[in-house]
């Protein structure tokens, strides 16, 4: 059987295996659950994107004229909550990870298919609570819920929104658990840890953070609830509490959560660059180990969000130096990715364009992270647009670019259809250009001193804000295009072959789209399975 063969029409696959609504809502197939996640996170991305557009258009002029300040505060809060908790955290793991991890390790499904479905339902219920909070009045605390504002002063729907995050956290924990057990217990014969695709390594590291970090945010939310509902003094100093304690607890999860958002993206980039350079990743062991290093060190840097809270100078120094250390594994990855292209055979299909864009944006995002780790510098730019620009370079420039890159890369596998290459390249270029125009001016705004979460601002900041808003408009267009042409491709796109990009890995050896069981027989993996320097060969199988 040739790898460029298109499955015969009418052949069974996971998509045509049942059409009724219940065949989706009660499915235990990891691939269908991935699509359920794809639909729901896209919904939340669109909502969060509308909020972003409202923010940018409000900031077009110095006066707070488009929205009232109450509305503006709710809009940026919901933008943060939706994008962080309901889009970025689940994005790559719950969609691409869910779809690919069982296939990449040569398994028929995740270890716990029912729990996988449960985690989607939990996510939906959590999202529902948050939507309810928006519809019934919104919440205005910022996605960070700082106390005592959130516990004592805000009279918006804090608890409904927080409960939504609390609930959706369990979805994260269950997904992480499922991945870890699957990766440990269900690898195909011959698939040793040192042969594991880097996408799987990255998800392993991510899952560790999900399991160890998420309970802390859950506990924190419960404590906020206890103070808000019963007046227990935990964070409010008038009741004997400590408001800074909240920040410690919140960032103990929320900083590692940044790595939940970016690590899977790093896994995607490793796969894409290897494929479109026709080279195995340079320094595989270092790239794999650096994911684990990031996951571990990421738990020890939370205090760098609190350099201006009057925490002790020495605590500040400890958090600063560990933050520098967590930058090193990212540097190692970046250099290895770039070196992978050395003496390769590089082609520029859409996923590669996203990956190259990622390299540039992630480098800038990472380096500006070191600016912020530098104590004496952070004092000036803390809570300004410099920070806003920095984390958007990581989360949008990094996580979102890699999500889109990965979505295009595996789209033929997921949908069985090819996307239109020219349109897709154009949208990748629009996203890259629009992104830089949106967020680069914000670095300058931040150094000039414009605080974040400002609804109105002094007039000298206007020019840069206008540039940023113009960029956001281009970016929005860049995001809209894939929505249209990917849907279009479902009906009109040419059928996808098994391995349209000449990639290596088990997922490229099975049909596009795969059959429900992924593999009819268990594949046996050896070094050659993933070797780009050898001609493509079919894996051995055990029968």
């Amino acid at each position: 059987m040739s790898y460029h063969a298109v499955p015969a029409p009418g052949q069974k696959n996971y998509l045509n295996n049942g059409y009724g609504l219940m065949s989706w809502l009660l499915t235990k197939d990891h691939k269908r659950i991935a699509l359920l996640y794809l639909l729901s996170i896209t919904f939340f991305f669109i909502l969060g994107g509308i909020m972003a557009i409202l923010i940018r258009y409000e900031l077009l002029t110095p006066a707070g004229d488009l929205l009232q300040s109450e509305t503006y505060n709710k809009v940026f809060t919901m933008h943060g909550i939706l994008m962080v908790f309901f889009f970025l955290i689940p994005s790559i793991p719950a969609v691409l990870g869910n779809f690919l991890i069982p296939i990449m390790v040569g398994a028929k499904d995740l270890a716990f298919p029912r729990i996988n479905l449960l985690s989607w339902y939990i996510y939906v219920v959590g999202g529902g609570f948050t939507l309810w909070a928006i519809v019934t009045g919104g919440v205005d605390t910022g996605w960070t819920f700082y106390t005592p504002y959130s516990t004592v002063y805000s009279n918006t729907k804090v608890m409904a929104a927080a409960l939504g995050i609390f609930i959706s956290g369990f979805s994260s924990i269950l997904t992480g658990l499922n991945f870890i057990v699957t990766i440990h217990r269900m690898r195909a014969p011959g698939l040793t840890w040192s042969r594991l695709p880097l996408f799987v390594w990255a998800h392993y590291a991510t899952s560790l953070i999900m399991i160890l970090g998420t309970p802390v945010i859950a506990i924190t939310i419960l404590l906020v609830g206890a103070e808000r509902a019963f007046g227990l003094g935990i964070f409010d100093p008038k009741l004997g509490g400590d408001p800074v304690l909240f920040q410690h607890l919140f960032w103990f999860y929320s900083h590692p959560a940044v790595y939940i958002m970016i690590l899977p993206g790093m896994g995607v980039i490793s796969e894409i660059i290897a494929c479109f350079s026709r080279k195995n990743i340079f320094g595989y062991n270092f790239v794999a180990a650096s994911s684990i290093a990031i996951a571990v060190l990421g738990f020890l840097v939370w205090g760098h969000h609190m350099f201006t809270t009057s925490q002790s100078v020495y605590a500040g120094m400890a958090f600063s130096i560990i933050t520098f250390l967590v930058g090193i594994p990212s540097a190692i990855k970046t250099f290895n990715w770039a070196s992978t292209m050395y003496k390769g055979s590089v082609s520029f299909e859409t996923p590669m364009l996203y990956a190259l864009g990622f390299l540039g944006l992630f480098t800038i995002g990472g380096l500006t992270g070191l600016f912020l780790a530098t104590l004496g510098f952070d004092i000036h730019v803390h809570d300004t647009y410099f920070i806003v620009a920095h984390f958007h370079y990581i989360m949008v420039g990094g996580a979102m670019m890699s999500y889109l890159g990965g979505l295009h890369f595996w789209w033929p596998k997921i949908s069985g259809k090819m996307y239109p290459e020219a349109w897709a390249r154009m949208s990748a270029i629009l996203v890259f250009a629009g992104f830089n125009l949106t967020f680069f001016p914000q670095f300058i705004l931040g150094y000039l001193g414009m605080p974040r979460r400002y609804h109105a601002y002094p007039p000298e900041f206007q020019v840069l804000n206008v540039l940023s808003t113009a960029g956001a408009s281009i970016l929005a267009l860049g995001y809209l295009l894939p929505g249209f042409y990917l849907l279009w491709s479902l009906k009109y796109g040419p059928d996808a072959p098994k391995n349209p990009f000449g990639a290596r890995g088990l997922e490229w050896q099975i049909d596009s789209p795969p059959i429900t069981e992924n593999f009819t027989v268990t594949p046996v993996v050896d070094d050659d399975t993933f070797d780009y320097s050898l001609p493509e060969k079919e894996v051995a199988v055990v029968r």
Partner: protein
């Protein structure tokens, strides 16, 4: 700060001694970032062009990696990181440690305004007048949520945290008016919680002060000290039941139940609002709680008064029950 909204500003005004120091660090970081960004970009562009796919049948050789290169791009960034860390920490120490000869001003943040209280008795809202060339130390308090006192032209920022005092310092170098922002999101009118720092020549500043009300902050504190009946227990005499307060500020205090504390502003604040938290050894925890009964501004007046109390023979007499504080321990804070 008077830039019109038609220009494209790239760099904020430098108006404090710290600003130049922070900016030097900024330029170093910019150079470092530019170098590495260009390096990665150059690698990507050169490799992408040089090794572009020439034939669909290209089958490049396998390269596993290179240990020496891995070490190079681990160790060099690590060393640069350590240098940057050290420089950043040094600047942070400068920003955190005020010099000895500061002029002190009290600040209160509340939703959504800044109030300043000068020791000379002048109060202002959303403006802070200071003389040029003099280190200023601000002690910050909030009546409600967390705020953050931010003056971009001085490159300084400090959060104002409920339940405690935080401090910051700066020395302005140029007369003028500079933005004061609240940098920590504090609710509905957060972006309206703005003001101006007005830096004046010392003579102008003195003139401005003289236009203020009569009676300095310590004398306002003295009035409160009587009104709130602090005087009953804290003054030498038959009714004295609490420790004498003159000369107390900045000194170590032996605590009931062991341990000691330094009687800094935060200790004095806590001892007024929640007196039983850390009682001086030898005294009963009988003082009533003042939490919710005195405003932040009244508290500042009281503490200013306590710190200004002259040490005279009759007001440092401790009651017989109290162990005399050994003079040797009173090393400066």
């Amino acid at each position: 700060m008077s830039a019109s909204n038609k220009t494209l500003p790239l760099f904020p005004e430098q108006a404090s001694t710290n600003a130049a120091m922070v900016d030097e660090l900024y330029f170093f970081l910019l150079a470092l970032a530019a170098f590495f960004t260009l390096l990665v970009a150059a690698m990507v562009v050169v490799f992408a062009v040089k090794y572009r796919r020439r034939s669909p049948d290209d089958r490049p050789p396998r390269i596993h990696g290179n240990l020496q290169l891995e070490l190079v791009w681990t160790v060099i960034p690590l060393l640069l990181s350590l240098v940057t860390f050290y420089w950043g920490a040094k600047v942070y120490f400068e920003l955190s440690r005020p010099p000895d000869n500061t002029m002190d001003i009290w600040i209160v943040g509340k939703q959504w305004m800044w109030k300043a209280q000068h020791l000379e008795g002048v109060r202002e809202i959303n403006e802070l007048h200071v003389p040029v060339g003099r280190p200023i130390r601000l002690t910050l308090a909030t009546e409600d949520v967390i705020h953050s006192f931010y003056v971009p032209a001085f490159r300084v920022k400090m959060d104002v945290v409920p339940g405690r005092y935080t401090t910051m310092w700066f020395e302005a170098t140029k007369p003028g008016r500079y933005h004061l922002f609240c940098a920590e999101y504090c609710g509905t009118k957060h972006s309206g919680m703005r003001g101006e720092i007005v830096v004046m020549e010392p003579a102008d500043y003195q003139e401005w002060l003289a236009g203020g009300p009569k009676g300095d902050l310590a004398s306002q504190g003295e009035k409160l000290f009587t009104e709130l009946a602090c005087v009953t227990c804290h003054q030498a005499g038959p009714t004295q039941r609490g420790p004498a307060l003159a000369g107390l500020a900045g000194k170590p205090v032996q605590l009931a139940g062991g341990g000691s504390a330094v009687a800094d502003d935060n200790y004095l604040r806590e001892s007024i609002l929640n007196p039983t938290a850390r009682v001086k050894a030898g005294y009963d925890p009988i003082m009533p709680v003042f939490q919710g009964l005195v405003t932040e501004e009244a508290l500042q007046a009281l503490i200013t008064y306590i710190k200004a109390l002259p040490v005279t023979p009759d007001n440092v007499v401790a009651p017989a029950a109290a162990p005399a504080a050994p003079a040797a321990e009173s090393k400066g804070h």
